[in-house]
């Protein structure tokens, strides 16, 4: 076995056969599962009910009685049953909004239609009243009928630091009440109107060479995100490991013993390979888990397996570029505290794709996506996002991006090797930019 492989094997074993690695590896799916399972329950169970008073000034005299009736009806068991039925029928979003209304303990304060709005606004902020004063709604005079044909709405006033759910509830109540009033004023049957205006959302069916299958909503967003996440996780996993072990070897002074047996380049190469294997192990486990989940739900066919090949290629490019630079940063400092300053720009590069994820997926062939695909080292993340999107780029763009990435690898490894060779034996003040440039020239 060559010396590079021996170094790699030690790095791999020293990283993988530790409690920290096992815990770190398991913690991502465990935390993800807990968030998915317990999170919604916590939100439902713990969210406090919205309590307080809502004042309404109704300039039309037609909306307020309907609000009063709606509030009385919503607290009845029959109303809750109806909401559940509507949620089952597919109107989950609307039902949720109404459910929020149903879980409140609101008191309606009815004001005269000619009430002074400025005085009513003061009511909102007068003292520390109990129950709390949540909102003042002023229904426009033309909200139900208008001579000009243009219908009005309502104005809503709330105290500062208001719970956002209050606005959702008030809007829901007033919207329904205003629509009822408008329908009644025109002699229309509101229930019939709702039926006429309701078109349930359908699930699309994917038609391909292999037949038809149900489309999974959002898959075109989730797949690129998952692949980019795997790439990012792999690079961060390995890059951080390379930096940490380099700093440790330097601060432990074991590095000179190693350099008496191997060259700096062999040491660097061994560490790269060792941590690459660690990252492959972690990525392989997560990817295998993901594929197993897809297979379990008979969704395996929805995934283009070429994406896995591209994931491996772009991972190698990103790892060799960012990993070697992380190692160079580790070699130039004396401890982890000093390392933080040098690794900050590299971490920024690694998390940049999170910021660019949405804009790239909205326009996978837009200018931003196009530029990001060809600028190393973020081109790896950008191109993988585009490849996973619903309109992947042409093959020549992919291979051009790979070629640019490989050129970036040579550049990064060249710089890193020069810094590593000098930095690894330098102790004392960490280098500034000028010193790093001098090292590049000297090595």
């Amino acid at each position: 076995m060559s010396k590079v492989l021996r170094i790699a094997a030690r790095e791999f074993a020293a990283t993988v056969f530790t409690k920290g690695f096992v815990v770190g590896l398991l913690i991502v799916p465990v935390v993800g599962g807990l968030v998915a399972i317990i999170g919604p329950r916590l939100v439902d169970d713990r969210a406090p009910a919205v309590e307080g008073e809502i004042a309404i000034v109704d300039r039309t005299d037609a909306v307020l009685p309907r609000v009063r009736d709606a509030m009385a009806a919503r607290s009845s068991p029959a109303a809750v049953t109806e909401l559940v039925e509507r949620a089952r029928a597919g109107g989950a979003a609307d039902a949720l909004v109404e459910m929020l209304g149903a879980t409140t303990e609101l008191t309606l304060i009815e004001r005269s239609s000619s009430a002074d709005v400025e005085q009513e606004k003061r009511w909102l902020t007068e003292g520390d009243s109990t129950p709390r004063r949540l909102a003042l709604a002023v229904v426009h005079e033309n909200a139900v009928e208008s001579a000009s044909g243009e219908l009005g709405s309502y104005d809503l006033y709330v105290p500062s630091r208001q719970d956002a759910r209050t606005e959702v509830i008030v809007h829901s109540l007033l919207r329904e009440a205003i629509l009822d009033a408008r329908a009644a004023a025109r002699g229309l049957d509101r229930a019939e109107l709702s039926r006429v205006l309701t078109v349930p959302r359908v699930r699309s069916v994917s038609v391909g060479d292999g037949g038809e299958s149900d489309t999974v909503f959002g898959l075109n967003m989730i797949v690129p995100m998952v692949f980019m996440g795997l790439l990012m996780m792999g690079v961060m996993f390995a890059g951080q490991g390379m930096l940490t072990t380099t700093v440790e070897e330097k601060s432990n002074r074991v590095v000179e013993v190693l350099l008496s047996a191997v060259s700096p380049m062999q040491l660097m190469g061994g560490k790269l390979l060792g941590h690459m294997a660690v990252a492959f192990l972690a990525m392989g486990l997560y990817l295998g888990l993901g594929l197993a989940v897809l297979a379990a739900f008979s969704l395996f066919g929805l995934l283009d397996l070429k994406l896995i090949l591209y994931l491996v290629i772009f991972f190698l490019i990103a790892l060799f570029t960012l990993g070697s630079l992380m190692m160079a940063a580790g070699s130039a400092v004396n401890d982890m505290r000093e390392a933080q300053a040098l690794q900050a720009p590299l971490i920024m590069l690694m998390i940049l794709p999170i910021i660019l994820w949405m804009p790239i997926l909205r326009e996978p062939n837009g200018t931003l996506a196009y530029v990001v695909s060809f600028v190393p080292p973020v081109n790896t993340f950008g191109m993988l996002l585009r490849l996973g999107s619903s309109s992947p780029p042409p093959a020549w763009e992919v291979w051009l991006s790979i070629a640019i990435g490989v050129a970036g690898v040579f550049g990064a490894v060249w710089v890193a090797a020069k810094v590593f060779r000098i930095g690894i034996l330098m102790f004392g003040r960490p280098p500034d930019l000028r010193t790093l440039v001098r090292w590049l020239r000297a090595a």
Binding site: M1, I7, N252, V254, E256, V257, L259
Partner: protein, 320 residues
């Protein structure tokens, strides 16, 4: 430059910024020799050793190690104990030594036995499965020394090997160095402890401010005929030594402890000086004061590095 010497340096120079750490160093160490590398702190010893090891590259000059233009080509035949020593803290002792041995090309066959017998040899049987972070400082030192020897190198380079060792461990290390030398290995070690260099080495090289100022066999450096001083105890405790001070061979005569130390003038014959002192004053004891390596070291380190080695030695003798 390929020679039969174990180490051959020719005009090797290394500069860090404005500091010339090693300045045109010429050095030839024959195979099988035991060389001491001495010099004050910051003299350039460690930089020179790192260049020999190809850990640092020289700015100028040429070097050859075990017949190769670079130590990189012969790393498996070199054992190295750096001045700044370290271990993988989380690794266990036996796996650590096994890892180093494998890096040095030791074959798998018999490797386990080799590691265990090496640990036993330094009296650490039972620590094989302890993590390195659990070892005491002295135990760590021994393991680090074993890491340098585990592959039975042809060339052994030890940078300050005795620092931090207790007397028992120092004795053990001396025995190990001598055993390696007897086995046929070439040994080069740097030290500040002059009696150890004097006791162990065939040959001493001293560098000061990056330049070589001494490169001679120990017995040539410490030749009795080069003595520049005498010590004597008068027969009468309160004898008048003014007659001794007046002798033409004597530069100075000073009381030291219960006796006197006489510095001889340049060119004075020590044998004639003894006869003159005995004739001038009845003595209970008189002998030539042989220069020690420490005298030479202090004399050179305290003097001007530009002075040539023989003059330095004379200066050192006078200082003593």
């Amino acid at each position: 430059m390929r020679t039969t010497a174990a180490i051959d340096l020719e005009g090797v120079t290394k500069t860090f910024g404005s500091l010339k750490a090693v300045d045109a160093l010429d050095l030839t160490i024959p195979r099988g020799a035991l060389y001491g590398f001495i010099g004050p702190n910051g003299a350039g010893k460690t930089t020179a050793i790192r260049m020999i090891m190809s850990i640092l590259l020289p700015d100028l000059g040429r070097l050859s190690v075990l017949g190769h233009a670079s130590a990189l080509e012969a790393k498996d035949r070199i054992g190295y104990l750096p001045e700044e020593r370290g271990l993988y803290r989380k690794m266990k002792v036996a796996p650590y030594l096994t890892f180093v041995a494998r890096l040095k090309g030791v074959p798998e066959r018999g490797l386990r036995e080799r590691v265990h017998s090496a640990i036993e040899r330094v009296g650490l049987k039972g620590v094989e499965s302890k993590r390195c972070e659990e070892l005491s400082k002295g135990m760590s030192q021994k393991i680090q020394i074993l890491a340098a020897l585990i592959h039975e190198p042809d060339l052994l380079i030890l940078d300050e090997p005795f620092s931090g060792l207790d007397p028992v461990s120092t004795r053990l290390l001396k025995d190990m160095i001598l055993a390696e030398h007897r086995r046929g290995a070439t040994v080069l070690f740097s030290t500040h402890v002059m009696p150890q260099a004097e006791e162990l080495c065939d040959h001493v090289v001293m560098i000061h401010r990056g330049r070589k100022v001494l490169d001679d066999p120990v017995n040539a450096i410490l030749r009795p005929q080069d003595a520049c001083a005498l010590t004597f105890d008068p027969l009468e405790p309160h004898a008048d030594v003014s007659r001794v001070r007046a002798l033409p061979e004597v530069a100075s005569c000073a009381a030291v402890g219960g006796g006197y130390e006489v510095a001889l003038r340049d060119g004075a014959d020590p044998a004639r000086a003894i006869q003159s002192v005995v004739a001038a004053l009845p003595v209970a004891r008189i002998e030539l004061k042989r220069p020690t390596l420490e005298d030479v070291f202090v004399g050179i380190a305290a003097g001007d590095a530009a002075v040539s080695p023989p003059e330095q030695r004379r200066a050192a003798g006078a200082a003593a």
